[in-house]
């Protein structure tokens, strides 16, 4: 074949804060490292690299950009091989990894594998959520930060968590217009999270700065509210918002507002498909964002050679991700014999302590953002839950009542979760709906079985360019 299997000591999947730190730590221990990411540059989503060259003043103004630039420089100097623009589509339990990039298919064989795939944004569907002009909250931060583009017209910013205020303030700062911020949480719930938030005064200050700039601009802040429907023909023209009860179920008909874009997000859920594909067992933990891999000490898993770092092991935020990445890299280096037990302990001990503190902050945010069941309960029958296969809530309810006990049986009978996104967008909602229809728990509704290819790819991408002589033949040829 054109691309033979290459070997490295450690392969890292995901070049966000967790993956980059893991790669750097393993390089410092003298191991060969390849780090894989779909994006053209390192940074992950939180430190997404701008496609343009940021000025000194851009960097001074944005703590995330500054942190990202520092990390990109350290990773570049670490000597880790970067496989950027590579989509991983298969990871065999033997730790042979299959990717495709613009120049064809690649295979990489690793002695250890650090999974740092981050999160997927969860959006509980409402009527009209599939319209062009409706984008994720995290998507909007990428638009603003990485592309320097602001959605035009009036933007409704809706959902849960601090990202709401970051996005709304970012839109204003970029010269855009915010119609309203619609926050599921109530002010008292924010107050209850304050002690934990106060452990990161820098981030708390940033949050208060966003709130101040929104108040100054006269943006309506609607606490304890949700979007119940989005309307338009080929784009967004209006959205309806209503107050919610303690379970986040909307109450009453609410009111319609004219908007031309909706940025919506209901928290983050760990991106676990790669860990599931290699066979790491998972458990359900609502306050950590959903199903999380079962972890052993220092980011190791029950599978020898497989380590998991960052938010894909449970939502804890960027600061914790960096530290857990470093710990994973050190632990993998130790297990491969590149660090003595003594040296590993000396390096790991301070990281563990800082990680615990960072997790206090991240976990408080994650708890605040934990999606409550009223949102899914309120989805109207005819609303599309699985965007790819256009499976409605009514279809899911019917399948569950007819005997689909978990999301995999649901998938077999309805195609829910079987489209190009491979169920990443609807997994949480589909699981909630199955659990509700069967009066069971979300944990019992389970996870989709992870299947290759993890990303859509064509047979021609997989085959790549080859010569006749590359095809394995039996010698001597028969006949």
């Amino acid at each position: 074949m054109t691309a033979p299997v290459r070997s490295v000591d450690i392969a890292v999947l995901g070049a966000g804060p967790a993956g980059a730190e893991a790669a750097i730590a393993a390089r410092e221990a003298g191991l060969t490292v390849a780090i894989i990411d779909e994006s053209p540059r390192a940074g992950g989503q939180v430190w997404r690299a701008p496609f343009y060259r940021p000025s000194e003043s851009d960097i001074r103004k944005s703590p995330d950009l500054a942190a990202g630039e520092r990390m990109r420089a350290r990773l570049a100097n670490s000597g880790a091989e970067t496989l950027f623009g590579h989509r991983l589509w298969f990871a065999a339990p033997s730790l042979t990894l299959s990717t495709v990039s613009a120049d064809g298919p690649h295979w990489l064989s690793a002695r250890a594998f650090v999974i740092a795939t981050g999160t997927t944004e969860c959006v509980v569907p409402v009527p009209g959520v599939t319209l062009p002009g409706v984008v994720g909250l995290a998507a909007t931060t990428i638009l603003l930060k990485a592309h320097g583009v602001v959605p035009g017209g009036r933007v409704l910013v809706a959902g849960v968590g601090p990202l709401l205020y970051a996005v709304a303030a970012g839109i204003l700062e970029s010269g855009g217009r915010v119609a309203a911020v619609v926050d599921l949480s109530r002010p008292l719930e924010w107050v209850a999270a304050l002690p934990a938030l106060a452990t990161r005064p820098d981030l708390l200050r940033r949050g208060l700065g966003w709130a101040t700039s929104l108040r100054r601009a006269g943006v309506a802040l609607r606490f304890g509210h949700t979007v119940t429907a989005i309307a338009g023909e080929t784009g967004v023209t209006s959205a309806r918002i209503a107050p919610v009860d303690a379970d986040w179920h909307p109450v009453g008909p609410g009111e319609a507002i004219d908007v031309s874009c909706v940025a919506i997000g209901h928290g983050l859920t760990p991106a676990t498909e790669t860990a599931r594909l290699v066979g790491v067992p998972h458990v359900y933990q609502a306050t950590r964002g959903g199903f999380v891999p079962r972890m052993c000490a220092d980011r190791a898993t029950a599978l020898p050679g497989v380590y998991i770092a960052g938010d894909c092991a449970g939502i804890s935020g960027a600061a914790a991700a960096e530290l857990s990445g470093r710990l994973a890299g050190l632990r993998a280096a130790h297990d491969l014999g590149a660090l003595t037990a003594d040296r590993f302990e000396r390096l790991a001990r301070p990281v563990r302590a800082r990680l615990r503190r960072a997790e206090t902050f991240g976990n408080a945010i994650s708890r605040l953002m934990t999606v409550r069941p009223g949102l899914a309960r309120a989805i109207p029958d005819e609303t599309i839950v699985c965007r790819c296969e256009e499976v409605t809530r009514a279809t899911i309810d019917r399948a569950a009542r007819a005997g689909a006990e978990d999301v995999n049986q649901l998938k077999s009978t309805t195609r829910c979760g079987m489209g190009p996104c491979q169920g990443r967008m609807c997994a949480e909602t589909a699981g909630q709906l199955v659990a509700m229809a069967r009066a069971g728990s979300r944990a019992e509704a389970g996870q989709w079985t992870a299947r290759a290819p993890l990303r859509p790819l064509t047979v021609s991408e997989l085959v790549g360019a080859y010569e006749y002589d590359d095809i394995p033949k039996i010698t001597p040829l028969p006949g």
């Binding site: 989503q45 017209g153 784009g235 190009p420």
Partner: protein, 125 residues
């Protein structure tokens, strides 16, 4: 849909092409390049994602859903949802993750077009 931003920053500065909807902020972009989108030339900037270039050119509808034929556009911007998949130089790729290069040929709604061209059942409807 109107956009005050588009009116506020007319096309005097070559660095910033205002669109009716999504607006490029004045940051130090790379060289302006051209994409051919469904046969029409669209200005973009080297390295920005194809999906964002399309949005800034007012092209928010990138495809129609296979079953209901409902309009769809870029949603997650991180290569997960595949809503923004378009045909780029012959390959179906998530446009939000594909850096724009000069001369790229982009076909929106590629799967619907292919199906409509090849399916007698569809033409009989």
């Amino acid at each position: 849909m109107t956009s005050s931003q588009a009116q506020a920053s007319p096309n005097q500065t070559p660095q910033v092409t205002a669109s009716p909807d999504w607006v490029r902020k004045p940051v130090a972009r790379g060289p302006a390049i051209r994409l051919v989108v469904d046969g029409v030339t669209v200005t973009a900037f080297e390295g920005e994602s194809v999906g964002v270039a399309l949005a800034a050119a007012g092209r928010l509808v990138l495809r129609h859903s296979p079953g209901l034929g409902a309009p769809r556009g870029m949603f997650c911007l991180m290569g997960v949802c595949q809503e923004c998949a378009v045909d780029i130089d012959g390959a179906m790729l998530p446009s939000c993750m594909t850096p724009a290069r000069d001369g790229m040929r982009v076909t929106t709604d590629a799967l619907t077009r292919r199906r409509d061209a090849g399916s007698p059942r569809k033409t009989a409807e």
